[in-house]
């Protein structure tokens, strides 16, 4: 699903955010990306989302070299990726339903079909009863679940999350992670950047460790050794 081949990323010619990154993620895998802040987790996700281009190397997503995408193809590429942000990036001027419907609106889905999918996504995150609420009326955990509903509403093949539990307490964090596991179980490839090492260790998935822009460990199912 994702393959990094000798990928490096420099900003402004000096600062090396990522250096010689090599890994691949299979379709249907669930992977954690970890490391201190500034280790390059966000840069790596931004590269996959094609918000930035690598200075070196090649990134393949679903078999495509995404560096070769024409500017006009990028929006359509991004529609295959669901993204969850630490600050969830909800739009506060519209209700929960409209927020979750946004990706479908962008794709131009028929309204009744969109409504059906929005309700399905809201149901999955357990917030169907809040569809008419404004994001501001929701708790932090609820807002994050709406963010997840929006990321999965168009059933993306790949789900990326950047510190999705960064602002949440441990109980809520565990709930959110369980949600990601649910989506992974139905076949979605999931990649989560997080520095919550305790939580990651408990979840027993593959972990990619970054330090100062380098991939220092790729621990496949480390829990088996425990």
């Amino acid at each position: 699903m994702i393959a990094f081949e000798h990928v490096g990323k420099r900003y402004g010619g000096r600062f090396e955010a990522l250096a010689d990154i090599n890994f691949s993620v299979q379709r249907g895998e669930m992977v954690f990306l970890t490391g201190h802040s500034g280790a390059g987790k966000s840069s790596l996700l931004r590269l996959i989302m094609r918000l930035e281009r690598p200075s070196r190397g090649r990134i393949l997503v679903a078999g495509y070299d995404i560096d070769r995408l024409h500017a006009s193809q990028i929006p359509f590429y991004r529609r295959q990726i669901g993204v969850v942000f630490q600050d969830h990036q909800l739009l506060f001027d519209r209700d929960v339903f409209a927020n979750v419907a946004l990706p479908l609106e962008i794709q131009g889905l028929e309204p009744h079909e969109a409504a059906r999918r929005v309700r399905a996504a809201l149901d999955k995150v357990g917030l169907l009863h809040r569809e008419k609420a404004l994001p501001i009326e929701l708790s932090g955990g609820e807002q994050q679940r709406i963010g997840i509903a929006r990321a999965v509403v168009n059933k993306p093949a790949l789900l990326l999350a950047d510190e999705p539990t960064g602002n949440l307490d441990p109980q809520l964090s565990a709930d959110i992670m369980r949600l990601f596991e649910d989506f992974n179980r139905i076949g979605t490839t999931v990649m989560i950047a997080s520095h919550d090492l305790a939580l990651i260790a408990r979840l027993r998935h593959r972990v990619l460790r970054l330090r100062e822009g380098r991939l220092i460990a790729d621990e496949h199912a480390a829990w088996e050794a425990v």
Partner: protein, 335 residues
Amino acid sequence: MTSGTSRQTQKPASRDTASRRGARSQRTGLNSRVRAWSRHHRAMARDSAYRLVRRPVASLLTMVAIAIALILPCALWLVMDSAKVLDTELDESATLTVYLSASIDEAQAMEVADTLRNRPGVAGARLVTAAEGMAEFQQALGLDDALSELDENPLPASIIVSPIDVTPQAVRDLSERLEDVGGVDEVRLDLAWLERLNRLAELGQRLTLALALLFGLGVLLIVGNTIRLAVESRRQEIEVVTLIGATHAFVRRPFLYSGAWYGLGGGLLAWAMLALGGQWLAAPVQALAQSYGASFVMPTLGVEGSATLLISSTLLGWLGSWMAVSRHLKDIRPR
């Protein structure tokens, strides 16, 4: 990558029937894409109009600024348009007066008129006998009493010649040629004022065009600035929709509609102000014209002019918005 292939990549991922149904409806062809496109256009036209209405004072101020910028060139154009009516009347009056020798009698005068009529470059020739000339003179000046005291008619017979080509140079050439005709005493034409008027009309037209361009640019800047602020205030929204796969066209659309609404609103205001202003000025202008013994109809935009004003103001709004959005979208890169 088309959405068709994107569906294929995810199809094996989710196997529940709901997602398959979703996949099928996504792959439907051009027809549904056109429907989606026009649906989004309608939604954005509504949404941007609603945003304008929600902040009525700010929207109205922008529209008034646009209207003021539009009124000046429009008013000047109206003035020039009514001057053009005068101009064509002048062209028609670009005639030559051929005075005949006093010794010629009426029969001879008719012969001369026939000769002139057959000359190349002459559209028509009308004989004004000495008696007719006197009558016209009396009527025009209202000097019945004074002239009736004259024993003899001092006026010579004359022939009014209308040239085919009314440009000053052609008229001048024709007058020189006609002077050689037998029985002709003098050919009179006054071209200097005609030429001056022509130059003035051209100057006016160029001035109108220059002003229209200048103030059109003004409208672009007014709309551009307003839209720039709107883009800035919706920055987060633009970032989010870009992140989840919105095309530039999708992001641009609501702002383009806002610009078009601003332009249309400004155009309507300008139209209303011109109509009101015209009515306000009509009475004194007509009184003034009457005092010169002329009838003058206040110029109006008419259907064609109104349509031109509204369409071009809407297009200007749209274009101003397009320029502003394109410029600022480059600055907005998702974090």
